[in-house]
Symmetry: D2
């Protein structure tokens, strides 16, 4: 299990507590949903909430209970086919774009499946039977895996609900926070030869290591993400129709899709609105812009005469910051003003998602965790208003295709030292 690079391991009690916390948070996330809401699949990239509930459960069943709990029996052997996502070595899978067509098992049966697996796993850990170290390690991985799906669950849901002309709200609308415009300033960072990547004894994914040396030229990093106010200036300056600002491929996508604003935005009576998890809302000018693609982020940076940060620059800047976020109690489900590096929006970097020097994927099905995605995707750093706090750390690398917008994606500007 080399996807976890650590020296110390949680105790069984600690892991059970984490497991319980994570599972309860998932329950809280789906509490406002009807059975019909949980069926929504609006595109192949997104999955129904019900599928997320089942898949995160399957992960514990497939990788822990089946190999490590000899007496475990599944409530339905066919769930392995239905709820595997892409782990080829874990067997055949149901077609990804047909997940929204699985009306049965229904929500109740999926909840029963969750209960069954939760009980069995708690028993297994409690019992101390088997290869306890591996079981704990895999349970920790499974909890982090479920936290990733918590964010997907709400962003997929937002995308699904956005096709409903009635524009329903997932959470109660809240009054718009009043905030002041914050000027865009940059902080200088010295370059040099650094070690980058995961270290120490916390949890990390395989792709966050190995820790390795890299040389970084001096650079400057913006002190806040790009705001909606900034973005509206770009729109009003014709940014979406100035081809020289765009990557050739970005221009093609933008034209084909008819982009003229971030996803979920529209104009109404001269003001910009957006559809959010709290229903239709006026665009909050001093909150970070969200739901923009890499292509748009890149064009914006060129328009601003600067560039996006590299992921190494970002990591260097983030190393010594304190992470504040919203795990458990405070999920905002929309970016708030005065964004820090954490918990507002994921920040597009200019770095493609590639293996670090020395990276070798783990053996077995879990080796498919990140390595097989290492082409054509771009790294984002930080964490959004839908990201569990435990998912945020300076070395965490998430990645999406440059055309994707349905996640909570924003950007932070950077520039060379001499600019």
């Amino acid at each position: 299990m080399n996807q976890v690079f650590k020296e110390a391991q949680p105790s069984p009690n600690e892991i059970l507590e984490l497991f319980q916390d994570v599972r309860e948070q998932t329950d809280r996330l789906v509490a406002p949903l009807t059975p019909e809401d949980m069926m929504l699949q609006s595109m192949e990239d997104a999955s129904p909430a019900k599928w997320h509930l089942a898949h995160t459960t399957w992960f514990f069943e497939e990788f822990i209970l089946k190999p490590h709990a000899p007496s475990y029996t599944s409530p339905d052997e066919r769930f392995a086919f239905l709820f595997n996502s892409y782990y080829v070595q874990a067997g055949p899978r149901h077609a990804r774009d047909k997940r929204g067509l699985v009306s049965r098992p229904g929500v109740d049966a999926v909840r029963a499946y969750r209960d069954h697996v939760e009980g069995s796993l708690a028993d297994l850990i409690d019992s101390g039977a088997g290869d306890a170290e591996t079981i704990v390690s895999l349970t920790e991985l499974g909890c982090h895996h479920e936290m990733q799906h918590q964010e997907l669950l709400v962003t997929d849901l937002l995308h699904g609900l956005s096709h409903n002309p009635l524009m329903p709200a997932y959470r109660e609308p809240e009054p718009l926070a009043i905030s002041e415009e914050v000027p865009l300033t940059f902080t200088k960072h010295d370059g040099g030869l650094f070690e980058i990547g995961h270290y120490g004894d916390g949890f990390a994914y395989d792709c966050e290591g190995p820790r390795h040396k890299t040389y970084v030229a001096p650079f400057q990093l913006a002190d806040r993400p790009v705001s909606n106010r900034d973005w509206i200036a770009f729109i009003e300056d014709g940014g979406y129709s100035k081809q020289p600002l765009w990557l050739m491929e970005g221009w093609a996508v933008s034209q084909a899709e008819g982009w003229d604003a971030p996803l979920y935005w529209w104009q109404q009576d001269g003001a910009w609105w957006s559809y959010t998890l709290r229903g239709p809302q006026p665009v909050n000018l001093d909150a970070p812009v969200v739901h923009v693609s890499y292509y748009e982020a890149d064009a914006f940076a060129r328009w601003a005469g600067v560039r996006l940060a590299s992921e190494v620059e970002w990591e260097l800047a983030a190393r010594d910051t304190v992470i504040e976020g919203n795990f458990m109690e405070s999920a905002a489900f929309r970016p708030l003003p005065a964004g820090s590096l954490w918990g507002d929006v994921w920040e597009w970097t200019q770095s493609p998602f590639t293996p670090y020097p020395g990276f070798r994927p783990p053996e077995g099905a879990l080796g498919e965790y990140n390595g097989k995605f290492m082409v054509n995707q771009m790294v984002l750093r930080g964490g959004s208003c839908a990201t569990p706090k435990l998912q945020m750390r300076p070395t965490y690398r998430t990645f999406f295709y440059p055309h994707q917008r349905w996640q909570m994606l924003g950007l932070r500007l950077a520039k060379d030292a001499d600019q």
Copy 2:
């Protein structure tokens, strides 16, 4: 309202009884469904059960209550946008392929909508207020419209459920009826100059008239539909790979889709099975074949050295038969052996769906009922095991595109008098 060609009209009491019967049958049809089942939309041609519930209700609201009941108020004005199907003149519509993404209103809200409209319409008819003749006529049309959707509801559902690897059953499986092979014989019919199309005082759609003269050459019509046993002979003789049997376009579709049997069929341990509304079932050899496209039906007829019937030939043969069917009590939801002209499968004819001489669509939104579909579709005659009995009559013309297979579509052979 010239889509009804009749001299006598039902009384208010008769129409209320019909209305109640039809609405209750719809309730019976959805009784076995979960809220999740009612969300299924597996292709643009099909709609979710929940949408059918709402759309058939909207029809009464839009065309009767809004214009004829001055005090009527809709529970939600936005439903008109969500649940209009294609009536352009009735205003803008929600995208047809996105109906499966409307999780709200949920099933309960749709049931409340149904109750509200049912009560309002019953009150209106009871009161005798307004243009009673038009209200009765439109209510009759709305009932027939809802009966059409009853058949769509179950066939759309079958298609939706068929994407579930668990192959759930809509109705309890039933033991396979034992039956004997019936030889295929033909009955000769004299030709001559006939009057064809709707007459008398019963209900009919606009496209069933005007009644008009047509000359028919002598012909022979098969005494039963093509059976599964017949179809297996076609398969085993390589019918799906003999290009000369196929229309050029049929061959292209067949190859692109990889057809080698009717929709929902597969082979297992040497036997043919099919997925049905009663779950997976062995193919019933002497039942009519179902779920074949026009292209397949046409290729089969060529393979058999004969042809499909024209719709006029079919109508002449059907004129004097007694219609038996399954409305209300006995819906079989799968074709049974010894099929008659009625109630087993729709029968592809070789006739494109075109206007009868003198046809002119009614004015207004209801003029869009059939006329705008009069290109590229083929007429089917008869009625299937999912067709309400009141939808069956010698002049009824249903129509589908030649590549479509998800309806209960079969075929009957014909040939020239001298063959």
Copy 3:
């Protein structure tokens, strides 16, 4: 060979003369073309001029020389693969949409192929060897086949050249004929029971028979095709944006393709222009409109409050007219004012292309001539300014898909007797 329904046959001398005339006309048609022009294939429906040259030659080689001239040898056996169009029973074929990628054999080699086959066929006929009757009959068919391709050759070429921003002219531009507006009048025709379809001893295709009885209600037929002036009135009245005028499918195609005028039209300084075989030309107001789809023709007729003719109505009206056309000397390559039933534009009818009662395709590869196209296409009658005169007769049925526009397609209005 039942695709020719006739009692008398041309003599060998007559057929040789026809053969020579037709082949020379093809040479004249390609005389203005460069080798590069002859490569153009702008869509799958169209073929390069070089391919037409080769394919029409292959037809004589495949169906006459190979079976009937024992000593015949092909200059290249592989041409049979390259230049078969769709005759499945004549063996495998090159992909239709890749014909424009066959740079070799070049034009010179194709001309040599033509010479070789022409000489061999002339020798065969001259010699009187073999089954002379069949040879003459097949040669006649091959000549008519080549005449069909002559029209395709120029319309395919127009489509190919239309993608060139330089808008080159195939033939010299000619000054616009001055003409006067002709009012649109209708002639009444009595209905009755008629015999329709090919008879007598002239050449006809399989689908023009068998001659058969049909009943026709009284009708009225317009005395001229719809003109460009008429069409502009339709445009100016918003015909392209009034959905109720359109078949549902026509509307979808029209919107997807962005149609707002006939193919090849554009507006410039307030006037309509079109791209023609004589280069860009102002639209000739009193010439028949051309390059409109069935969907447009149908919408126009509905806008005008009438309908298109059925093919039977057209045939009845055309029976006693004198055919004038442009074979050999006078090909106009653009519709001229004061159009008759012949030689200006093909006229869309409201009749789908279906088999006549009693139709059975001939045995063998030539049985594929027309029968396999009998679905989803609409019949056109008459003949265009690019149609050889010998292709025009009252019973001739050409057919295209309702969305196609690149042929010389126009329309004539009809209405019921009581309208």
Copy 4:
């Protein structure tokens, strides 16, 4: 003009000689082609030979003659529209996928255009008029641009001809070189902090700089590219059907396209053959494999238990080698055995094409040269058997999409120092 990073410039005489050499080489490349061959465009990625002839000419006209030769007149102002490739700031362009539909101007007119521009440019340089330094610099860029198109011209042609079932040869077939199997060995390289990127006074493209520091871990690089013999072992071991070897996206493309061997390969009588510029040839076992995508290269490396080189590793290894190649006299047009780093195949690296630290695109239309492609493409290093010698240097970066195969693309293996 910061795309050339150099201290010294060629003299006018030197540049004229280069210009003449390059233009003559283009003439030699198209000498075997017919006008029909020069029309071939088999996909949007490829262009007709005639277009390459015209476009490389337009480049000199647009960027040198029009701004710097006041008396210059173009033979046809419309050529600027037809023959611009993607330089947005140089004005609108003809649709890229329609280049094969421009039959006029024909080959002769394009040759005349070349002559006209060549003469005008030679006169301009000779005259010493204007901003001579810029003119020389742009001419040098234009020559390198034309060399890039020389390689595209022959690979595009190969792709075009490959659709011809007759499999014509561009160059005479040559007997297969006899060669011996060379074992695959690796050379160790020390890591460290290096300067990478263009330096000195030779020509280079914008994306080859700025020269910058980078840290490289110790690594090992294979001493020869992967050979056809190696690749066949991969095929025979089932490499194309072992999903765990593949990037997720690579697997999807591979399945959708039905890949089971490099492009242009097929099996015949138990041996592998490939279609080449010298016609069909048996696969040369000890020559470098060619026409493989990045996805395939990556899967091969994983199968071999190693990885591809990074572009930095490659550049370090290549720095001190002597470049041999085939410019002018010796273009092989197929990879030969015993491949070096140069002149056989382009070698896929594991490095996405991204800007070097400090990169800023030049101002103006030429700023679009490379920067706008910096997403989703992978760097290849070296040079193929179709690459002009002057295009080969240790810092040269070419780039293609990971699914592309029609270029002369192969691979070289690498591994970590401790493997």
